[in-house]
């Protein structure tokens, strides 16, 4: 027993294991990278949180939401705004750091033709003042849903808000109902994930 312990065998297997492990970790991602195609448009990632910051930067108001996974992200040209789109709809989200309230922000975003339509209160979170309005000014069943969500801040006259403009694609034949419903669900999930901090 002691003889074997005192003259240890050369352990080639251990050396091979280490070399193979290191080589694999080094080379495998490079090979895989060559196999996975580059998407034409960058999709929104899984659990991708989009952060909006007010004029105050780190010290100012902040808002965040989880964007709908898999949707195309189209906001490269408009910093501070989120624009995502799929076959059924497109959502544009912008932060408004100093708004009077959700109703006022919503009204300011409406076209003249929809200025006098009634708004609907949304029950999203008790700390939010949330209003929505849906209108369809063009022929062809292409409704637009605008949602304003503001932090309830009784101490200040102005409060940070998010404005979401959801534009649904035309659907004259009704064949894309499932897609539109799916887009509505995506909007609901996105609204539920909204956070606003001062």
């Amino acid at each position: 027993m002691s003889d074997a312990l005192q003259r240890p065998r050369s352990n080639w297997a251990a050396a091979a294991v280490i070399l193979i492990a290191v080589s694999s970790i080094f080379a495998a991602p490079t090979l895989l990278n060559a196999l996975v195609p580059e998407p034409s448009v960058q999709p929104v990632g899984f659990y991708e949180r989009i952060i909006f910051r007010g004029d105050g930067g780190e010290a100012g108001a902040t808002a965040g939401l989880i964007a709908p996974v898999g949707w195309a992200r189209l906001d490269e040209a408009s910093p501070g705004t989120l624009v995502v789109s799929n076959a059924a709809a497109s959502f544009t989200v912008s932060m408004h750091e100093r708004s009077e309230n959700a109703e006022a922000l919503l009204r300011s975003s409406l076209p003249v033709g929809a200025a006098f339509l009634p708004t609907t209160s949304l029950a999203i979170d008790s700390s939010f003042d949330a209003k929505a309005i849906e209108f369809d000014l063009a022929a062809g069943d292409a409704p637009v849903l605008n949602v304003a969500i503001c932090l309830i801040d009784s101490a200040n006259d102005e409060t940070p808000c998010l404005l979401i403009e959801a534009v649904y694609g035309t659907n004259p034949s009704g064949t894309a109902d499932a897609q539109r419903e799916s887009a509505r669900m995506a909007l609901s999930r996105m609204l539920a994930s909204i956070e606003i901090n001062t």
Binding site: L5, P8, N11, A14, A15, L32, G45, F46, R49
Partner: protein
């Protein structure tokens, strides 16, 4: 435990210079290549001499703290470990400082590109880092344990210590890299403050996590190898379970924020750190217990074999 018993069945501590072992040359070659690469990258980068100096100084302080932790663990009366040659300890640290960050940086970059294309960029760090870094740390721990095993029977405490040192090496190198990267433009004073700030934040939030995770996995690996060395079944599931759990903890640590508010994120990080500390403590206690029941640790047997060795 007497000095003879502590030095193992061959009567001497595990030696770092083992030219007859292929593992020795694999470790040496990889460490040298990656060290040269790191030095080239460091001096060819944008870091100013001031920031490099400050980063190295802070890295030394952090390393001293981690070394003190490992000395405290392995030299305490409660869990007195057998000797490990100082050279092997340095090899363990060197692997963590050079091979792990260099290879992992390359692999992570490629992995991130793949995950971005698959729409997983927000969770890329929590997927790529645990796979690449944890497996590289495990490979280095395995290499050093192989060298120890060539000299004397392994104990799980060897794995705990070697793993901790490999992880400590990575942690110091990672934090130093962040400090070097903080250089930028500006006055020397501002650069120094920036480097100190980064090192304090990196060291303060999750101090020793890489070391603790690798210590846990190292203990499990040494346990399996020690059993094989004694002719028993390897119980590799212990290693698989330890690796999985520590990878999961690493993944949670790197996971995207749960909220834009800091409180939930701090709660998650605190939970991961506490879980890591608890697991490390359990691993250390189990390692002590396992060491007591390994047959080759019987004092009489050790003394006998050591005496044989001295005669020869």
């Amino acid at each position: 435990m007497s000095r003879v018993e502590a030095r193992g069945v061959t009567g001497k501590a595990a030696l770092s210079w083992q030219a007859q072992q292929p593992v020795f040359w694999v470790l040496a070659a990889l460490i040298l290549i990656c060290l040269l690469w790191q030095v080239g990258a460091l001096f060819g980068g944008s870091a100013t001499p001031t920031v490099i100096g400050m980063g190295l100084l802070l890295a030394t302080v952090q390393f001293a703290l981690l070394w003190a932790v490992v000395a405290l663990i392995t030299r305490s009366r409660v869990i007195a470990s057998r000797d490990i040659d100082r050279g092997l300890s340095i090899v363990a640290v060197a692997w963590g400082m050079t091979v792990v960050p260099v290879i992992a940086a390359q692999a992570n970059t490629q992995f991130f590109a793949i995950l971005r294309r698959l729409g997983l960029h927000s969770v890329a760090a929590s997927i790529a880092a645990p796979i690449n870094e944890d497996l590289l740390r495990l490979a280095g721990t395995f290499g050093v344990l192989t060298l120890i095993a060539a000299c004397r029977p392994l104990t799980p405490l060897d794995g705990l210590r070697v793993g901790f040192l490999v992880g400590a090496g990575l942690e110091v190198a990672e934090n130093a890299a962040y400090a070097f990267g903080s250089s930028g433009a500006g006055e020397v004073g501002a650069q120094i403050v920036n480097a100190i700030h980064i090192m304090l934040v990196r060291s303060g939030v999750g101090f020793g996590l890489h070391a603790l995770w690798t210590g846990i996995v190292g203990a499990a690996l040494a346990y399996c190898l020690a059993r094989r060395q004694s002719g028993l079944a390897g119980r590799w599931w212990v290693l698989a379970a330890a690796t999985f759990v520590t990878m999961l903890l690493h993944s949670l640590w790197d996971a995207p924020a749960l909220s834009i508010r800091p409180e939930p994120q701090l709660a998650l990080l605190g939970g991961v750190y506490l879980a890591t500390l608890a697991l490390f403590t359990i691993a250390a206690l189990l390692a002590v217990r396992a060491a007591k029941v390994v047959p080759s640790y019987e004092p009489a047997q050790l003394s006998h074999v050591a005496a044989q060795h001295e005669e020869s």
